[in-house]
Structures are given as structure tokens and as C-alpha cells.
Amino acid sequence: MQIPYEVTARPDTGVNNAKLGIWLFLASEVMLFGGLFAAYVFLRIGADAWPGMMVYDTEMMAERADEILNVPLATLNTMILIASSVTMVMSWAALKMDRFDRYKLYMGLTILLALGFLVVKAFEYGDKFDHHWYASTNNFLGIYFVLTGLHAIHVTGGIVLNAYFWGPGTKLWKRGTPRDKAHFTNRIEVAGLYWHFVDLVWIFLFPMIYLI
């Protein structure tokens, strides 16, 4: 049994199944992060002070987010994620040009950059814990940990996905028929759409939590 339009696009919709599926999935992801962003706005509007009292830590009163969060590190992470989005596109373009070696290189870079993002994130979290600033300290740190944590889970998911397509997943390409190659290229495109979305979430997260 063959499911229609697994690889080729359906003429009247112009997309294949996976591509439509990922766009719908991303729509639901927009609602997930949208719900949390709405919660952030709701909490911030209702708060007396934002970020507010840093209880457990000498009763410090924070007036600005950058007193608590490390903006340079987050800027670095923004750069890393944007760079990984670029290499992701290049890995897909390499497949389009039938350059599998280039694909391996760019996809490998994408994975390394994503890992780099998580390492920087771990340092950021560690710094907060050193100050005894936890999610329970106040709602600012609470929503910071929930949003960046959920985003980090998405990054981790992307790493697992991309690592599969870097390693065992390449079997599909290596079968070598034009259909298999097109199928694999589609998969990388779809994985790329997800990865760009994860990047985009960070682009919203960064100014919202760190800067304003």
C-alpha cells in the first residue's frame, strides 16, 4: 500500500503531506508558546514590580531584567541559533545540489551549534542557581525558567532529530534512487522548518524576557 503524495506535491494544494503536516504542527506550537507569552503579559501587567523582589537573596529589589539575566550571553546564544539556522538551510541546499558530503558538513555544524546553545544556556542557569535564584523566587524567574526551559526542550528535540538525519537517517538517501533522494531532501526541509521555528521562538523570547 502506498500513501499518495508522500514525496511529490499534490497538484491542487502544492505541498506534500509532510510539509503540510509540519506547518500545522507549527501552528499548534504557536498556540503553545502563544499561551505562555500571554501568561507572561498577564502576570507582568498584574505585578506590582517587575522583575520584583528577589526573595531568598538579601531581599534584593530588581528593577530591570538585565540586573538578573546575562544579556551578553543571551546575545551570543542568539547569534549561535541564527548561525545554526543558516547552516540548516545550507545542508538542505547541498542536498538539492546532490552534494552529500557538504550536507554532512552543514548538518554536523547545525548540531554542534545547537549543542553550543545548550552549553551556554547551562552556564546561564548555573549562574542563577549560584545566586540562589530559582523558579520559585518570583514570577519573573518562574516564567523565565518555564519559557527558556520549554524552548531548551525544543532545541534538544531538534538535536535528536537532526542527529538522526545526520547518522542513521541517511540510509534513505544512500538507497540512491531519485525518489529516495527527493524523499530525504523533503525530510531535511521539514526538519529545517521545525528548526527555524525553534530559532524564531528564541528571537521573540530574547527581547521579551531579557531586554524589555
Binding site: P4, N17, A39, T137
Partner: protein, 581 residues
């Protein structure tokens, strides 16, 4: 793995054939059986509660007298199980999975393995929910709505509830993506959007609701998990005091935030419950009145409009939270607007009956029962959608009566109609008609015996959450004796499910064999083009092409009173002309 399902079925072992199946028909049956067991379990919880309300403190055989904690657990879990583990999986997971690919002429769902994953995540979500009864101090006790701050300081069962919900939401998300891609991409040649059966349309809109409304609840679930496990205060205002003294939380949060996020899901959820039911009723009515659905296009436009509007009515559940009259006014208006497409659909179904030569079979009886019962449910909802009348009725039994009329004799009757209608498709045998009628009439009387008194009790002001059934309040004096009527009705309802259970189980083996593939002489593809019972993975021997709309019954001049979608309509007086309405 990718190649497994291209081999023929008889090589597979038991586990891969029945448990790890990627065939949408098997997954549909898995959903159906699991959901019906959950419905029975949720019904059982309700029986215990009704026993307690009718005779507070009287010991229940094997269980002993209910404690208030147990009562609260049963209440919260009855709602959760019925909605998230019973009705939605049966309406969407079972009927949607089984029927939609067949009705649009697809060999399977677009992503068969995702479909399997969806069922398994749902199953484990159910296991987590059931397991929560056995953790220290039992399952969740804060109602199916889990309002904080109470839910935040509840015992461990609430955490289990949240994890269970995360799994169930993930499952419905996977399912929704799959349904949408299947309907958009896998419609067979000629099956344009306006040739799709209304059932497919209903599932289509439902999938959009599941896709877009569920994630905010998942977000809310994460926030409540953080509140419970990490000690955050998203839903905890400052200065909360319990019996054990002030709570040691940072504070500054808002319980209203939960309510907004919860109802942003839970109002569209109401339409997730009702739209597939309307779809089933539309199929059964058109088939058994032997005439086209009245106002098919109007119904489709209404269902789309309903889907959009359902996202902007959620705060009518929150009129008494003090969110302000301006916001209340907005949500009253949208609520009144959304009642219009519901009325349109119901009226269209009703008008469909006019002038039909109606075949009365059990499926048809249930579909006919749906119309007035859902009508009562819908009309009793109007006073709840307007703030002035909602304020006295809020949190009373009136609310319970209202939404149970929508969901129990409404949606569940439609689901029964679907079961009787598609049972021959799935098994190749029919269910017993006599037992079916006993089931229908008994359920009809008993359901009204349970839910009609609730409306009166609620108007007197009896609260929905009283453990003793209102014994401690003097104003309930005139209506408290209804509790006995309702308890008796509830057990009678159980009694009348026995013929159904017996019928359902024995007909698999001993039911009358279906003599022809298109048993109901239907026009839609699942009956007219696919063999009965259907072949293995792949559905159709050859994928059919569709030539005309889904409800071409009793076409004037045509020799048969039904014209299957995959056969061009050939009128005898113009044999060489093909009519495409």
C-alpha cells in the same frame, strides 16, 4: 519498519496486527474499545456519586460509605474521564479514524505511524489517570476544571492528573495533524471539498479546534506543574492562608490566568464534543430518510463559522470572576452569535426529516433522539450565556443539567447511532434490532430521569458540589427528593446498557451476516465503494473516483433510490447524459 505495513496482514503476529497496528481501521477499533471502557468506568463513578447524593452516608456494597475526599475524587475524575478519555476518543479517535479515510477514498491516514503513536500516547495518558486513584490520598479532587489555588495545593493525584493531561493533549495533537493532512491531501479524485460528506466536514473543523485550542491548556498544564513541583506562583496570589497557616510561596500570581487558559481550550472542547456527533447524525438521517441532507452547504458554512467563533466565547464561563462588565458584554454577544450556527445545523437536520420515507432502525432512533435532546441542551445554555441570568445559575445543578443534555443524551446518543450504523461495516454482521430498541427507549427515559430534575434543582439554587446532596440547606427542601429519582434513573440507565453490551459483544460472532456490501444502501464511499467488512490495509481494491455530492438519495427518474458517489448518475430517459449536480 517503514516497509512493514506494505506486506500483507496475515504474516504479522498478534502484537503487530492488533496492538502496534498502523492500519487506521484497527486503530479506530482500538480507540473505540478503550473509549467505551472508559465511558463505562466514568459512568460507574457517577453511579457511586448518585448513590451518595440520594442516601448520604449509606454504605455502598464492597466500597463502604463514601468520604467527602472520595466524592471529590469521583467528581473530578468522572468529568475528566468522560470528556478526555471517553467521548472525544470515541467521537474523533474511533469514528474519525475508521470512517474519514473510507469516506474520502483514501488508502489510510496520511501518517499511519503517527496515528499509532497517537493511540498509544492516549492509552498511557489513560493509564496515568487511572493510576492516580492509587497514589497516597487518591486522585485529583479539584473538579475537572482544576481551578487553582485549590488545585495547586492539592495532593499528589493532581500532579498525576496534569501529567495525564499532557499525554492526552499530545495524543490529540498528533491525531489532529493527521486528520487535517489526510482530509486536505488524500481526498480521492473528484472528491472536492463540497462533495465531502458532512461527517468529514465535522471532523475537519474538529481537528482544527483540537490543533489550536489544546496547546494553551498544555501551556497552562506546564505552569500548574511548575507551581506544584518547582514552587512557582503563577496561579498563587500573595497572602494565601490555609488551615496550616500562611503558604510559603512568593505570590503575585493570578488564579484567573488559569481560568482564561483553561477555558480557551475548554470552550472549543465543547464543540469537539458536539461536532462529530452532528456529523454522525447527519449521515444517519440522510441515509434513513432516503433524501438529501437539507441545506448541506448551509450546514458546512455553519460548522466552519462555529469553529471560528468557538475561539472567542470562552470567558462566558467566567462571568462571576469579576473580570469586568465590558469584557462580560463582549463575551455575551459572541455567545449569542455562536448559538445561531448551532440552531441552523439543528434546524437543517430537523427539516431533513420533512417528506422523507423514514426507515426506523436503531441507528435512526438514536439519531432522532439526538435532535430534541441536544435542542434542550442548547436552549438551556442560553441563560448561562448571559451574565444577568448566569450569576444566579452559576455553579448550580442547572449547569450540570445543561451540559449533560448536550453531551449525554446529545453526543452519546449520536455516538450510539454511529455504533449501530457502522457496526455492520466493521464486523460484517448486524446488531440485534430488538435489543437496540430496548436500549434506546430505556436510555431515553432514564437519561431524562437523571438530567431533567437537575434543571429544577439548579433553579432553586442547589450547588453542584455538595457532598450530601443539599441536605444541610433548607432552601433545597422542595427539590431534594429528586435525588432519589435521579439515583434510581441512573441505575435504570445502567440496566438498559446491559442489552447494548450483550448485543455489541455477541453480534460479533452471532449477529446476522451482512448479505451485501452496501448494507444500508448508502451513497457515501465507505459503504458503496469499500467492501464490507473492509479488506486489510489499503481499504479499496481500486481507489474510487467521485462524480457527485454525498447525499444523492431518491434522485427523480433514477431506478434506485440512492446514487453512490463513485457512480455517475445515469438517468434512464437520457442514458448518454451524465448529470453532475
Amino acid at each position: 519498519m517503514a516497509d512493514d505495513h506494505s506486506h500483507s496482514d496475515h504474516q504479522e503476529g498478534f502484537w503487530s496486527k492488533y496492538w502496534f497496528s498502523t492500519d487506521h481501521k484497527v486503530i479506530g477499533i482500538q480507540y473505540g474499545i478503550t473509549a467505551m471502557l472508559f465511558l463505562l468506568f466514568g459512568f460507574g463513578l457517577m453511579l457511586l456519586m448518585r448513590w451518595q447524593l440520594a442516601s448520604p452516608g449509606v454504605e455502598i456494597p464492597l466500597l463502604g460509605a463514601l468520604t467527602p475526599e472520595m466524592y471529590n475524587q469521583f467528581g473530578a475524575m468522572h468529568g475528566t474521564i468522560m470528556v478526555f478519555l471517553g467521548v472525544v476518543p470515541l467521537a474523533v479517535g474511533a469514528f474519525g479514524n475508521y470512517v474519514v479515510p473510507l469516506q474520502i477514498g483514501a488508502p489510510d491516514m496520511a501518517f499511519p505511524r503517527l496515528n499509532m503513536a497517537s493511540y498509544h500516547v492516549y492509552f498511557w495518558g489513560g493509564v496515568v489517570m487511572l493510576a492516580s486513584f492509587f497514589v497516597p490520598e487518591g486522585a485529583a479532587k479539584s473538579g475537572w476544571t482544576s481551578y487553582p489555588p485549590l488545585a495547586n495545593i492539592e495532593t499528589m493525584g493532581q500532579t498525576m492528573w496534569l501529567w495525564g493531561m499532557v499525554l492526552l493533549i499530545t495524543s490529540s495533537l498528533l491525531g489532529a495533524v493527521n486528520f487535517l493532512v489526510t482530509i486536505i491531501q488524500l481526498r480521492t479524485e473528484g472528491m472536492t471539498y463540497f462533495k465531502m460528506p458532512f461527517f468529514v466536514w465535522a471532523q475537519f473543523v474538529t481537528a482544527f479546534l483540537l490543533l489550536l485550542a489544546f496547546p494553551p491548556l498544555e501551556a497552562a498544564g506546564f505552569l500548574q506543574l511548575a507551581d506544584r513541583l518547582l514552587g512557582t506562583s503563577f496561579f498563587m496570589p500573595s497572602g494565601l492562608v490555609t488551615a496550616e497557616g500562611p503558604l510559603e510561596v512568593a505570590g503575585g500570581g493570578s488564579p484567573l490566568l488559569w481560568q482564561h487558559l483553561f477555558w480557551f481550550l475548554a470552550h472549543p472542547e465543547v464543540y469537539v464534543l458536539i461536532l462529530p456527533a452532528m456529523g454522525i447524525v447527519a449521515e444517519v438521517l440522510a441515509n434513513n430518510t432516503r433524501k438529501p441532507l437539507w441545506g448541506y452547504k448551509l450546514m458546512v458554512y455553519s460548522v466552519i463559522f462555529l469553529g471560528f467563533m468557538s475561539f472567542i466565547v470562552w470567558a462566558h464561563h467566567m462571568f462571576i470572576t469579576g473580570m469586568g462588565t465590558a469584557i462580560s458584554a463582549f463575551f455575551q454577544v459572541t455567545t449569542m452569535i455562536i448559538s445561531i450556527p448551532s440552531v441552523v445545523i439543528l434546524s437543517a437536520l430537523f427539516i431533513t426529516l420533512f417528506g422523507g420515507s423514514i426507515r426506523f432502525n436503531t441507528a435512526m432512533w438514536f439519531a432522532l433522539g439526538f435532535i430534541p435532546m441536544f435542542g434542550i441542551g442548547g436552549l438551556t445554555g442560553l441563560p448561562l450565556g448571559l451574565a444577568p441570568t448566569d450569576i444566579p445559575l452559576h455553579d448550580t445543578y442547572y449547569v450540570i443539567g445543561h451540559f449533560h443534555y448536550v453531551v449525554a443524551p446529545g453526543t452519546i446518543f449520536a455516538l450510539f447511532a454511529g455504533i449501530y450504523y457502522w457496526y455492520p461495516k466493521v464486523t460484517g454482521r448486524t446488531m440485534n434490532e430488538t435489543l437496540g430498541r430496548i436500549h434506546f427507549w430505556g436510555s431515553m427515559v432514564a437519561m431524562n430521569g437523571i438530567f431533567l430534575p437537575m434543571l429544577h434543582q439548579g433553579m432553586v439554587g442547589m450547588s453542584r458540589r455538595l457532598f450530601d446532596g443539599g441536605l444541610t440547606y433548607s432552601f433545597t427542601e422542595g427539590v431534594i427528593h429528586y435525588n432519589s429519582v435521579m439515583a434510581v434513573s441512573a441505575f435504570v440507565l445502567l440496566l438498559f446498557q446491559l442489552p447494548f453490551i450483550y448485543n455489541f459483544l455477541t453480534s460479533i460472532k452471532w449477529g446476522r451476516k451482512v448479505t451485501k456490501s452496501n448494507y444500508w444502501e448508502a451513497t457515501t464511499l465507505e459503504w458503496s465503494a469499500a467492501p464490507t467488512p473492509p479488506v486489510g490495509h489499503g481499504n479499496f481494491a481500486t481507489i474510487p473516483t467521485v462524480y457527485h455530492g454525498p447525499y444523492e438519495y431518491s434522485v427523480p427518474g433514477h431506478e434506485l433510490d440512492y446514487c453512490p458517489q463513485e457512480v455517475p448518475i445515469q438517468l434512464p430517459d437520457a442514458a448518454d447524459q451524465t448529470v453532475e449536480p
